[in-house]
Subunit: 197 residues, 2 copies
């Protein structure tokens, strides 16, 4: 009797699959939409379809894009000899925001994770290998994690026979942070990687 | 150059309007959907439209419903003489889950809040007044807040000339809580409303 109408529960179930959304928040979202003008909800529904229809993967770098190839790959002003390899497209946007990288990207679409059954074949490695021919440096820019280290190790093997410099993002103390609150692993890395004044 | 594609930003803006969703989470949701199979996303879009098309307000109690009147209002086993007045439909579901209320509901659709410009005319009061003719008790079950108290005061005036008992949810210490962590206002209320063993 008089539980939540099925269609609302079904919508909430969709939202509950979103990253960082629990069952209660998902239901609150469904109720929120119920209160919105019909036009707004139809608009959101249209946007969802739009995103799937208009966004695809760049065949060169695997970054999400509306144009093919993507704007970074087709920009002659970007250094084609310097490649930044990242886990996903979010990382591209993060690095682009710094405005301090003028090379190009390669989006792996994941990291090697034997525990999750993710091997090199599941990543965009096939499209990376031909690009290596014209590259002098690869910056491997992934989050510090076991999967990141595993993938880094694999990258190292890939470039071993080639004349490519492989570099990593510096690990250390983030700007504006307080030594008191830094975890020991980060502090250890910062000490090991200390630079001269 | 190469910022996030507009269609993704637009979708993220929609999500950022959801309750409890910040800009970063909204963008993460948009990216999440981008990774999902096309069919799943179309399904979600359809569900959104479905919710708006199939759910309406019960003309009797203002609760959200797929049937008209709603299942609670049309259930002859529910006590029509006992009315629980709540702020929104979420509250109906919360009370129904307790399975300890067998009366009917009236969903106000908000609370009186002069600061936000919400007056009695903005609530489902028009449909509440005729129902009062056949009611012997109204349980006013709203969250403890200034708006709740203001609306309670208004309800009190509404039932003043009628032979209706107006009751409120008991305020006190929640089950399973620890006196040490209860705020003073709640503890004061619990002392004031103490019951004999």
């Amino acid at each position: 009797m008089s539980i939540v109408p099925a269609v609302i529960e079904e919508l909430a179930e969709h939202f509950a699959r979103f990253p960082g959304v629990g069952r209660k928040s998902a239901r609150r979202m469904a109720f929120y939409l119920l209160e919105q003008p019909r036009e707004d909800v139809l608009n959101l529904a249209k946007k969802l379809v739009d995103v799937k229809d208009r966004i695809s993967r760049c065949p060169v770098c695997n970054h999400i894009t509306e144009e093919i190839p993507c704007r970074i790959c087709s920009d002659p002003k970007r250094d084609a000899g310097l490649l930044c390899v990242v886990e996903d497209s979010m990382d591209v946007f993060s690095i682009e925001k710094t405005a301090s990288f003028r090379g190009r990207y390669h989006v792996l679409g994941g990291l090697i994770s034997p525990l999750d059954g993710v091997g090199p074949d599941d990543l965009a490695i096939d499209s990376l290998i031909p690009r290596m021919e014209s590259v002098r440096e690869i910056i491997f820019a992934v989050n510090p994690s076991v999967e990141g280290d595993t993938t880094a190790f694999y990258m190292k093997k890939l470039v071993a026979d080639r004349d490519i410099k492989l570099s990593f993002l510096a690990r250390g103390i983030p700007m504006g942070s307080d030594l008191e609150y830094i975890d020991e692993a980060t502090l250890t890395r910062a000490l090991e990687g200390r630079t001269e004044l």
